[in-house]
């Protein structure tokens, strides 16, 4: 069980790659210093850092939602970079569920397929599959407001998965949820990731969540946003509570928290 559950990481083929990417917003905010980061197929990479470290900016660049000021972004080794985005093979999960309140759960999940003009019958089939995947098959006819926060987030994940993306980008998706719900969704996410061979980039400001989830933690620092450290987490999935109680977990959390604190102190000195 443990042997098969770690999908093979093929780092030779990067799913998305930033080369010397910087981002300065029109208002002058220097959000990202030159960043080089490649995400290989099958990885579950978390971007960890305090507010303002540019982790959401980097994620939006990966999604093609914004353009870099300098540098280059490549998707699937450049195959899609020429078209300026990668709409179909990307799934994006926002900080909040971002559902359409006027539409039923099924219609919300179907939205990306509708936008891509997938025939209705095929779309319905895929919506049913995606909802079953997140355990919400029974709630297709509900409206978002009738669901709890955790369930709404799962609808949002189903919507991201319905296009069968190769790369799933998640921007602090469980940040607003209580710890119990967050832990359960973390486990469900890992299960989905290993079952479907997904590549995930996951933004979080929780050290514990980062260590628990990832195959690789990218620590970022603020002002300007930059990559501070890039650490692998070797333990195989599924990790579960034994991992949370293990020494490796504790040591990793401690060293990461030191890193983040040191960066914070440095920044305070300069300011």
């Amino acid at each position: 069980m443990t042997a098969s559950s770690l999908p093979s990481v093929d780092s030779a083929l990067s799913v998305v790659e930033a080369r010397g990417v910087t981002k300065t917003y029109p208002n002058g905010t220097h959000a990202l210093a030159p960043v080089d980061l490649a995400v290989g197929r099958g990885e579950l990479v978390t971007l960890l850092g305090p507010s303002g470290c540019g982790k959401s900016t980097l994620l939006n660049l990966f999604a093609g939602l914004i353009d870099p000021t300098e540098g280059e972004l490549r998707w699937w080794d450049g195959t899609l970079a020429a078209t300026g985005g990668a709409g179909r093979r990307l799934g994006f999960v926002f900080q909040s569920p971002t559902l359409m309140p006027w539409a039923r759960v099924s219609a919300n999940v179907r939205l990306p397929l509708d936008l891509l003009r997938v025939p209705r019958f095929e779309a319905e089939q895929r919506v049913a599959d995606a909802l079953a995947l997140v355990g919400l098959g029974r709630f297709a006819r509900h409206y978002p407001r009738e669901l709890s926060g955790g369930m709404q987030m799962r609808v949002s994940i189903a919507r991201a998965l319905v296009t069968e993306p190769d790369l799933l980008l998640m921007d602090e998706p469980f940040g607003a949820l209580d710890e119990f719900t967050r832990n359960r969704l973390d486990d469900e996410l890992v299960a989905l990731w290993s079952a479907r061979g997904l590549t995930i980039v996951f933004v979080t400001h929780s050290i514990h969540e980062a260590v628990y989830l990832s195959t690789r933690v990218v620590v970022m620092a603020a002002r300007p946003g930059r990559v501070l450290a890039d650490l692998p987490v070797e333990t195989a999935h599924p990790r579960g509570d034994p991992f949370r109680a293990s020494g490796a977990y504790g040591a990793l959390c401690a060293s990461l928290s030191e890193l983040v604190a040191a960066a914070g102190a440095q920044e305070a000195e300069r300011a």
């Binding site: 999604a63 939602l65 709409g87 990307l90 971002t98 359409m100 006027w102 936008l115």
Partner: protein, 265 residues
């Protein structure tokens, strides 16, 4: 919390009680001081006038209501179209929105004589006056609504390379509905006011005379009971129109929008 919310029964009973007491007091005072009916008619007298003059008054009510409804329909159609144009580009909105405001702040009584001179058909002139009064809340609310889109959802649409039309129909229009219905409620009252005011200015009598004309004539003839009766009908028409828009809004939004979801469900 519970003790502060009036029960359903009280919600209806309390205003009805206020009406009964007020009417009884009015009747009692008029009887007690023997107030002549050309000064203040008693409620019973107003009711009697409503019955005896019913053909005249109901005919006029029909005229006024049809003008108000036509104006409301045109205001919704034209107002929504203008809003859709406004959200297509900031340039269009910036160029034309000030004139929409101009339309709103100019008193209708000041423009009505012009409209009545320029438009041959009196009925059309009256409808146009009422449209001028009713259209602004539709334009301003709908424009605001079409722009009040969840930025996350807009990003999602962009990420999947949605066309302008897809964004409009699947995102902007549904987002705008609660705002639109807010505007519609205000517009329904304004359409009636516009119809009545325009009729006052036009002073059209004869076959197509509306309730405003009946009030004008009853005032000149000191037929105060009829004046009151016409006033009652205008008020009822206004309440009816408002109720209609509330009902339509409820029908459209009850499944999802906070404003129409009954407490406790």
């Amino acid at each position: 919390m519970r003790s502060n919310t009036p029960s359903r029964w009280l919600e209806y009973a309390a205003p009805v009680l206020v009406a009964i007491v007020t009417i009884a007091l009015w009747q009692g005072l008029v009887d007690l001081y023997a107030v002549p009916s050309w000064l203040v008619p008693s409620p019973a007298r107003v009711l009697a006038t409503l019955v005896t003059d019913r053909e005249l008054l109901l005919g006029s009510l029909g005229v006024t209501l049809s003008i108000a409804l036509a104006a409301l329909g045109i205001a919704v159609a034209v107002g929504t179209f203008v809003s859709l144009l406004f959200v297509q580009s900031r340039w269009i909105e910036a160029s034309f929105f000030p004139y929409a405001i101009l339309l709103q702040v100019t008193p209708i009584v000041a423009i009505a004589p012009l409209i009545i001179i320029w438009v041959q058909d009196t009925r059309a002139a009256l409808v146009l006056c009422a449209v001028v009064v009713a259209i602004f809340p539709i334009i301003s609310n709908t424009t605001l609504g079409l722009r009040s889109v969840d930025p996350g959802l807009l990003n999602l649409f962009r990420m999947h390379r949605a066309s302008r039309l897809q964004v409009l129909l699947r995102l902007r229009v549904p987002s705008a509905l609660p705002y639109f219905f807010g505007g519609l409620r205000i517009a329904s009252g304004l359409a009636l006011i516009g119809a009545v005011v325009a009729e006052f200015v036009a002073g059209t009598g004869g076959q197509g005379a509306g309730l405003a004309y009946q009030i004008l004539m009853a005032g000149i003839q000191l037929n105060v009971p009829r004046l009151f009766a016409a006033l009652v009908l205008i008020t009822l028409a206004g309440v009816g129109l408002f109720g209609l828009t509330v009902w339509v809004s409820k029908l459209a939004l009850r499944r999802w929008h906070e404003s129409e979801i009954a407490a406790g469900t």
